[in-house]
């Protein structure tokens, strides 16, 4: 790189002068103008939803959506009750918390072995894991559905005493299986940057593989684990397909799939749906604003091998 730079420097004799400051100022203004416009366009659907979720249906019907007024908080309370969000949030917690923890635990185990030892099958395994994350979920539906239906659950695991189908276990397992590939990939890339000497001195001290994993590797992997945790919470929280097809009874639906309760057969009050949508959107939005750095680095870790 530096060679190129010096070449370029020596070759620079007659170059057009830099643009005049006035011109640059104008360009900067244009740039900000464009960005402000675009940001407003992008924020609009969300802000518009916030605004109308706070207005009554009657008012917007009579005065049109371009009016202002009819402010009320009723949509939120109605949506909360009608969609049964209190229970649905708990359902989502049942799936998300164990799902994320299990995903991070299993993928860190896998990544540790892949990064720490050189077995012949390492690359193949990583490929098998990463590809699993990209396969279309619909293509796995029938066999999984039948498999889950055949596996009975002991009563202490499922109050219905039924099968794996229609149980939180199914959702936890499927989400974990799908997300483990991506997390393993990201974590093993990160773990490969840990110098081998650390492990060697640990081995001299007689530390077992498990202790190396738990006391050396995991503490060093806090940054990618934090990033992945943020990402996975959002993804599993948002997960829609498996929740829709594997859960059979409405009372077990996680939050996203229960939004349908707010739509009537014939008539739908969109202000109410907006309020419901925003209730559902709130946790990911909070995660995003509080942990934006983790979220962004989690997404880019997978793509850039950072």
């Amino acid at each position: 790189m530096s060679g190129l730079a010096t070449d370029a420097r020596t070759a620079t004799v007659n170059r057009p002068p830099r643009p005049a400051p006035v011109n640059r100022k104008a360009r900067r203004r244009l740039l900000h103008g464009f960005l402000i416009l675009m940001s407003l366009v992008w924020l609009f659907p969300l802000l518009y939803a916030v605004m109308n979720s706070l207005r009554s249906y009657e008012y917007t019907q009579d005065n049109g959506y371009l009016s202002l007024g009819g402010w009320t908080f009723d949509n939120y309370t109605t949506a909360w009750e009608r969609a049964g969000f209190a229970g649905k949030f708990v359902n989502t917690l049942y799936v998300t918390v164990p799902g994320v923890l299990l995903t991070l635990f299993l993928s860190s185990c896998m990544a540790f072995v892949l990064a720490r030892f050189s077995f012949k099958l390492n690359l193949t395994l990583l490929g098998v894991f990463l590809a699993a994350n990209l396969l279309p979920q619909q293509a796995l539906l029938i066999p999984l559905y039948r498999m889950f239906r055949e596996i009975p659950l002991p009563e202490f695991m499922n109050a219905d005493g039924g099968t794996l189908l229609n149980s939180y276990w199914a959702l936890i397992l499927v989400n974990t299986a799908f997300q483990t590939g991506f997390c393993t990939f990201v974590l093993s890339n990160y773990m490969k940057t840990i110098p081998k000497e650390i492990y060697e001195s640990a081995m001299v001290d007689g530390a077992s593989v498990l202790r190396q994993y738990w006391q050396l590797t995991l503490p060093l992997c806090r940054p990618p684990l934090a990033a992945l945790a943020t990402l996975q919470v959002t993804w599993i929280y948002n997960e829609f397909f498996w929740a829709t097809v594997l859960m059979q009874t409405g009372d077990k639906f996680p939050i996203t799939s229960s939004l349908n309760n707010l739509r009537g057969q014939i008539f739908t009050d969109v202000n109410l749906v907006a309020a419901g949508s925003l209730i559902v959107a709130l946790p990911p939005l909070i995660v995003f604003f509080v942990l934006q750095r983790q979220f962004v680095s989690g997404l880019t870790l997978g793509a850039t091998k950072g």
Partner: protein
């Protein structure tokens, strides 16, 4: 690497990496479990079902009876899909339109925004957040949220124009309506990936180019963009995969009917719908799997490329 490592000093063969053969029994059990449990989960819940779907695609099965009611019919399902299944052609067309739109709108726009925001700008964080926000929302949720804009009687568009189009329902327009909402989310994602890629570009490259008198546009297209080849390819492949897997937003709008047919919704409708045609649905799933696997392999080749093993 580590020639004088403690292991070497102790007289063993100084390989920098531990080998399974040198491990104690406890270590071997631990390593086996650490690999076996995740692998079994991924194989059992992703790969085995995937392969079984391919197998089932050569059968006829209502799915009600046991496994013994499965009837082998060879490639009949595939023949039927291509000859006497009307929704297949629109579904493929819609997936292709989806793909083209993702390429033409959010991808260039995301790249442009990333380039503009890569400079240290006043308010850069605000702009970034505005485009990032849709990424954290699920497409299902996005579908619900945009009802406020698209609804026939209560939607913003009809309120302004005085029209009576049902933007989610009318099969001439609903695909485009759904795509606008999808682009709303996808743009921020592309921008995010490119921003990360741009940060990783060696600044001296740009300096050299600037000293050479290249304009910013020239620098980007002739210097920065080619250097970012890995990110370019990743974004390309991700776009393909997203376009082929598109499902959620269409499913919440109308379960993929009336102009919103996609291959993914055909699969789902054939399996969980009233008439459960498992073999037929599996054949559709296999077609989807076959197309996608091309891009998955491409993705793997890039992602695993720098693995000297």
């Amino acid at each position: 690497m580590a020639v004088d490592s403690p292991v070497a000093v102790r007289g063993r063969k100084g390989r920098p990496k531990a080998r399974a053969a040198r491990m104690s029994r406890g270590d071997r059990i631990a390593v086996t479990l650490m690999v076996a449990v995740p692998t079994l989960l991924v194989l059992g819940l992703v790969w085995v079902p995937g392969i079984l779907s391919v197998v089932l695609s050569f059968t006829r099965w209502e799915g009600i009876g046991g496994v013994d009611t499965i009837e082998w019919i060879g490639t009949e399902n595939y023949t039927n899909i291509f000859t006497i299944y009307p929704p297949f052609e629109p579904a493929v067309t819609h997936n292709l339109i989806w793909l083209v739109v993702l390429f033409l709108v959010p991808t260039p726009l995301g790249v442009l925004l990333a380039v503009l925001l890569d400079k240290e700008l006043k308010g850069g964080r605000f702009y970034q957040s505005a485009f990032f926000i849709p990424i954290v929302l699920s497409l299902a949720l996005v579908g619900f949220m945009w009802q406020l804009i698209y609804s026939r009687d209560q939607g913003l568009i009809n309120d302004i124009t005085g029209g009576t189009t049902d933007w989610y329902g009318d099969q001439d327009v609903n695909l485009w309506a759904v795509l606008v909402a999808t682009c709303w989310k996808q743009t921020g994602y592309v921008m995010l990936l490119y921003l990360a890629g741009l940060k990783a570009v060696d600044p001296s490259l740009r300096e050299a180019s600037a000293i050479d008198g290249a304009s910013e546009t020239q620098t980007f297209f002739r210097v920065v963009f080619p250097v970012m080849r890995p990110i370019n390819v990743i974004v390309l492949v991700i776009t393909f995969i997203e376009a082929l897997r598109a499902f959620e937003i269409v499913w919440v709008v109308n379960k993929g009917r009336n102009g919103l047919e996609l291959i993914s919704t055909l699969v789902t409708n054939n399996i969980v719908g009233e008439a459960s045609r498992i073999g037929f649905g599996s054949a559709l799933a296999t077609i989807m799997l076959a197309i996608l696997s091309v891009f998955v392999v491409m993705y793997l080749r890039i992602a695993l490329r720098e693995e000297p093993r």
